[in-house]
């Protein structure tokens, strides 16, 4: 009986320590934070209202090598002189910097679909924001799990 009680006490104490550890980890993030990403988005597109929709990120849900992650962004737009996509910006939550790429398109693109390869330092959300010719802003986000993170290996 006495032994069981001490075991319970131990587990209680251990849980306290574990919670403490988690708290320390969440207080000090190693990279940029989602809040910094929001700041970066505002710095690029201004203070307009961002509505989810129209733009679509295509990312694999799980990637082995974070050094080259295929990224495709497409926007549902007729791409005419009157109604086209002006720009597409991509941001990340946990890379050292929130900026990834900004594509500037126009009616001559014909189709609003661009692809590239990006680096990811951690499993995280990737956000795309597009600016249409009427000034409206649309966004989409995708979650991705990265097995081998970029930026970790050091040079010679």
């Amino acid at each position: 009986m006495d032994q069981a009680a001490s075991r319970r006490e131990f587990l209680k104490a251990a849980r306290g320590v574990a919670v403490g550890l988690v708290a320390v980890v969440t207080v000090k993030p190693a990279h940029a934070t989602p809040a910094e990403m929001q700041g970066a988005i505002r710095a690029v597109v201004g203070s307009g209202r961002i509505t989810p929709g129209k733009v679509k990120i295509e990312l694999p849900p799980l990637i082995e090598n974070g050094n080259a992650v295929p990224l495709t962004v497409s926007v549902d737009s007729p791409m005419t002189e009157a109604e086209h996509v002006r720009a597409v910006h991509v941001f990340t939550e946990k890379n050292p910097q929130p900026y990834v790429v900004s594509f500037h398109l126009g009616p001559r693109a014909g189709r609003a679909r661009v692809s590239t390869r990006m680096r990811l330092a951690d499993s995280q959300n990737v956000v795309a924001v597009c600016e249409l010719s009427d000034g409206s802003l649309w966004s989409d986000s995708a979650a991705i799990v990265v097995t081998l993170a970029a930026c970790l290996e050091d040079g010679i």
Binding site: Y99, V100, G110, C151
Partner: protein, 106 residues
């Protein structure tokens, strides 16, 4: 010296949407890595890519360190007239490469 690969269809119908693929060899050093002695490896990236069609800009991209080494960019354009597509990459340490491709529109 950097070398670029460009994939543009040589012939297209007027008004057709063509896909353009570009790849350029470049280390895209992020500026976030350290040597074993602890010094930061300075950033060396391509910052801008511009594509012009007979002198008119049709596509531009601003690149950041989060773009993979050997930047690969795919985009599209409407084949309007025969002529030259020219591609320019510019970046840190005076990096600048220009390539061009001919297209015949019928």
């Amino acid at each position: 010296m950097a070398s670029a690969l460009i994939n543009v269809p040589p012939r297209a119908k007027r008004g057709e949407i063509i896909e353009i693929k570009t790849l350029i060899s470049h280390v895209m050093e992020t500026g976030f890595r350290h040597t074993q002695l602890g010094t930061v490896i300075p950033r060396d990236i391509i910052r801008r890519f511009v594509c012009t069609y007979n002198g008119t800009e049709i596509f531009r991209a601003d690149l950041y360190p989060a773009i993979s080494a050997n930047p690969f960019i795919v985009f599209s354009t409407v084949a309007t007239e025969s002529g030259t597509l020219s591609f320019q990459w510019t970046g840190d340490n005076g990096f600048s490469v220009t390539e061009s491709a001919r297209i015949y529109v019928e």
